[in-house]
Amino acid sequence: MNRSVVDEIKKEIDENPVLVYMKGTKDAPQCGFSAAVIQVLDSYGVALKDVNVLADPEKWAAVKTYSQWPTIPQIYIGGKFVGGCDIVREMHAKGEIAPLIEQAFSAKR
């Protein structure tokens, strides 16, 4: 297979202002942390791209190496790695996610 998973990841990060590598899908999360992240990000009412790593083990391994982060879910906003579930929840509680999302979508216009 001549697949370049890293190129796929780069494209996903570049094309989606809000991107979540997760277990399951945003409509059917398969892990508590992934579900929690979707809940938080959904509250902003913006377009969210989900990538189910359970359906793609190659991508799962590649994304951990790419982000230098050993766990899933992984959240990218505006092309920048924000962290995992704990970080996103903490930032959301402190009101730090809203400006990131605003910036990510205004950059796309």
């Binding site: 892990c31 508590g32 230098q68 982060w69 050993p70 766990t71 962290g83 995992g84 704990d86 970080i87």
Partner: protein
């Protein structure tokens, strides 16, 4: 499965400046944990950097013996 004592000692080894490491087994199955770490090493560091420091101590068991890990990282002042 991994014992909370094991998690605790790995974090203390990786972060000698840690003043508190609280480990809680959230499901009773020794593979889903909530960990709270207070350490001087976190000062001036972003959440991502702090979490990476803790992950480094548990790299080889994450996803294997350790299924789920929730982190709270604080500096002594926080």
């Amino acid at each position: 499965m991994i014992a909370s004592q094991d998690i605790r000692s790995r974090i203390l080894t990786a972060l000698p400046g840690a003043s508190a490491v609280d480990v809680k087994d959230t499901t009773g199955t020794a593979d889903h944990y909530e960990v709270r770490v207070v350490a001087r090493e976190f000062e001036g560091r972003s959440l991502i950097e702090r979490h990476r420091l803790v992950y480094a101590a548990l790299e080889d068991v994450l996803g294997g013996a350790l299924h789920a890990l929730s982190l709270k990282t604080l500096t002594p002042d926080e």
